[in-house]
Symmetry: C2
Subunit: 143 residues, 2 copies
């Protein structure tokens, strides 16, 4: 059954799990995962165990998160918080502050232990809700 | 003000616009944009005009959509709908049917006309809600 939840003025994103990370403050987090982010765990809910069963260590995946500490009212920022850079519309930046603060993170899976997935280089804060995991697409001929 | 909307059991995704496309049925749509998808328009709401003001024609962006016709109950599928391929957990596939059906599309901007953005190779159906636009990240040194 297609579930078209147009209740109120949007769609309800339901977290499928949470990030466990040593990063607890926004000012500790690197701007992107490949700029020195630590390893972290993706801790998934038992309800989605069947959806994660074919993930494997050693592969890269895209993790989508909900950046729950972001400010959704912000439409333009100094990129990377650098006051010397001109104010830029957020759709041309990776600012966490944006109308729908969905985080997009490419990470390497290093281990899987039941519902826990160990990943390399994730800049999301401890407790960040996870909303989806997707494979990185290879060339069209190999899909 | 950080808006931590933990009302009910999730977060409210508010569309920032809609896709205008000649694709109206799921069986018409290619599996991925680079497999023969048509050009389409991203028609943004006036409320986010300041967020889009620095997008430019000729660049690639990531468009996030809400695949509103997807089935959120599905946890495993035959990849690409091919019954000869073993059933696979959706987090290891790009199936639109998944717990949070956020679509991720890399497209080339070919023109911008006010709140309308013309893009190449978008496989989303006509009317699909748009939730975010992000730049493609280049090498860390160029950010």
């Amino acid at each position: 059954m297609p579930t078209d939840e147009t209740d109120r003025d949007g769609y309800l994103l339901r977290p499928i799990g949470r990030v466990e990370s040593p990063l607890t403050r926004r000012d500790q987090a690197p701007r992107q995962g490949d700029e020195g982010a630590p390893d972290a765990w993706l801790v998934l809910d038992a309800a989605v165990a069947d959806a994660m069963r074919d993930l494997t260590a050693g592969t890269d995946v895209l993790v989508l998160t909900w950046l729950h500490r972001a400010d959704r009212q912000v439409l333009a920022v100094h990129p990377r918080g650098d006051a010397d850079r001109p104010v830029t519309g957020v759709f041309a930046t990776r600012s966490p502050d944006r109308p729908n603060p969905v985080g997009l993170h490419r990470v390497r899976i290093v281990a899987i232990d039941g519902l826990r997935i160990r990943v390399r280089d994730l800049e999301a804060l401890d407790g960040t809700p996870i909303v989806d995991i997707k494979p990185v697409l290879g060339p069209a001929a190999e899909r």
